[in-house]
C-alpha cells in the first residue's frame, strides 16, 4: 500500500493510494493518511484508481478522514474507484457518506460546489 501526496498551488491536496487497503495495510498507512488530512489547507481528494481491495478497516479509515475534514469545515472526495471496490462502497453505502466520483475533474467540481 502506497500513499503519495500531490500538492499544487491553489488545488486541493490529492492523496494517491495504490495497492490493497486490507487490515495490515490500513494499519501501516492510517497515521500518515490522517496526518495529511489534518494538515491539508483545504479540501482533500483521494485518487483510488490503483486500489484493488478495501476491507472493513479501510472503510473505517476513509470515514475517519472524512469526519476529520468535516470537523475542520473541509471536505473529502474520492475518485477513480475500481469496479470491485465500488461494489463494496455501494454495499456499505459509503458512497452516501462521502462523494465518490468517476474522475479527478468531477471530484474537483463536486468538492468546490
Amino acid at each position: 500500500m502506497d500513499v503519495v501526496v500531490v500538492e499544487a498551488d491553489g488545488a486541493p491536496m490529492c492523496l494517491v493510494l495504490t495497492g490493497r487497503l486490507d487490515a495490515a495495510a490500513t494499519e501501516l498507512v492510517e497515521t500518515s493518511v490522517m496526518a495529511h488530512v489534518r494538515r491539508a489547507p483545504g479540501h482533500v481528494l483521494m485518487d483510488m484508481a490503483g486500489v484493488s481491495f478495501v476491507g472493513s478497516l479501510g472503510i473505517r479509515l476513509l470515514i475517519s478522514a472524512a469526519r476529520t475534514a468535516d470537523r475542520a469545515g473541509r471536505r473529502v472526495a474520492i475518485f477513480g474507484v475500481q469496479p470491485a471496490v465500488a461494489e463494496v462502497f455501494r454495499t456499505i453505502a459509503l458512497d452516501d457518506l462521502i462523494p465518490v466520483l468517476p474522475d479527478q475533474a468531477a471530484a474537483l467540481a463536486q468538492i468546490r460546489t
Binding site: 472493513s56 470515514i63 470491485a84 457518506l97
Partner: protein, 364 residues
Amino acid sequence: MLRRAAPSVATAEPIVHVLDVEAAEGLPARRVAIGPGPLTVGRGAQAGLVLPSGDVSRSHCIMAMDGEAVIVTDLGSTNGTIVDGRRIEAPARLIPGARLVLGPFTLVYRNGRASDLARTEEVEKDLARAGRYVEALLPLPIADGPVRATWRFVPSTNIGGDGFGYGWIDQHRFAMWLLDVSGHGAGSALLAASVMNLLRVHSLPGTDFTDAAAVLAALNDRFQMDRQGGMYFTIWYGVYDTRTRLLGFGCAGQHPAFMSVPGDADAQALWVKNPAVGLAEDWPYRRAEVAVPAGARLYLFSDGAFEIQTADGRQLTLGDFLPLLGRPAMPGATEPERLWRAVRGAARPGPLDDDVSLVTLDFT
C-alpha cells in the same frame, strides 16, 4: 507490593521449535517440541509423535534440525506429507507457520523464544475464549413450526466478529438477523456479543423490535464508531409475520440475504441500501417488505462464506457463491452444512481468513 528487580544482564534465550497438533480424530490439540534429535511421526507406537489414523503410515515422516532450520522428510508414506497444500517430493525446510497435513491431522510449525511462544499461546487462548462466548450466544436449531431454522458457524482462528440469531418476538412474529463487526480479534467478538445480547433479550428501550428500520436506527444510535474504539458493524435484520406472510427487513451495510422459492430458478436478493451501523449518526434507516410463499427458504450468511481465496490464488466474490444456493440437497447434511462443505472445498487449504456463518430459515 515489592518486586525483586529482574537480573540486569539479559541472557540470550534459546530459540525453540515446536509443532502444534490441531485437535482431530478425538485427540485434543497439543504442542510437541522438536529437540536436537530427529522426531519421527507416524501411526506406529514407536513413533516420537503418534497420530492414530488409518490414513497415516506407520512411519510417515521425520523432522530433523539442520542448524537453525527444521527439515521434514517423507518416509515413503502412502498418503504423503502435505506442506502448505503441496505434497513434498524431497526433504523440505519448514518456514514458521508452515502447515503440515498428514491424513486427518494438521500440524503447524512454529519457532521462537519459549517466552514469546507462551505469550502467543496465551493470546490465542483468549481469542478462543472470546470465540466460545459468541458461540454460546447462538440459538438452537428450530425443527418444527411455521419457521424452521438451522445454521453452521465456523469461527476463524483470529475471530472475525460474526454473530447471528433468530426467535419469536410474540405469537405471530419471528425475527432473524446476522451481523459482522469490522476487524478481527477479541474486540470484534466482544462488540458482536454485546449486540447479540441486546437483540436476544430485546433490550433497546423504546424500540419496536418488529420494525427493522427502528431496530437499525436504535443500534446506530447506541453503537457509534467513535464510541466503540473505531469499530462498526454490518447487519441484516428481518421480521416475518405469519398472519400476513410478509417479511419486513432492513440491511445496514451488508450484502443481501437471499430467498429461494420452489419453482423459481434464481434466489431473490433482499437488500436495502443503508450505511453500516456506527458510520453515520442519525441516519434515516429504510426498510423493505417481501411476500413469503409457502416453501420459501431464506439464506443469511456472512461475507466470510464467499470472500475466500482459492488454492490457485483467485479471490472469490458473492457472484461465485450464489450458484451454490440452487444446488440439490445433500443427503444426511443440513443445508448450511452442504454450503459449508462447498465453501471449504473451494478455498485454499488451511484455516479461512474470516468467520463463516451460514443460516437457513424455511417457511412452511
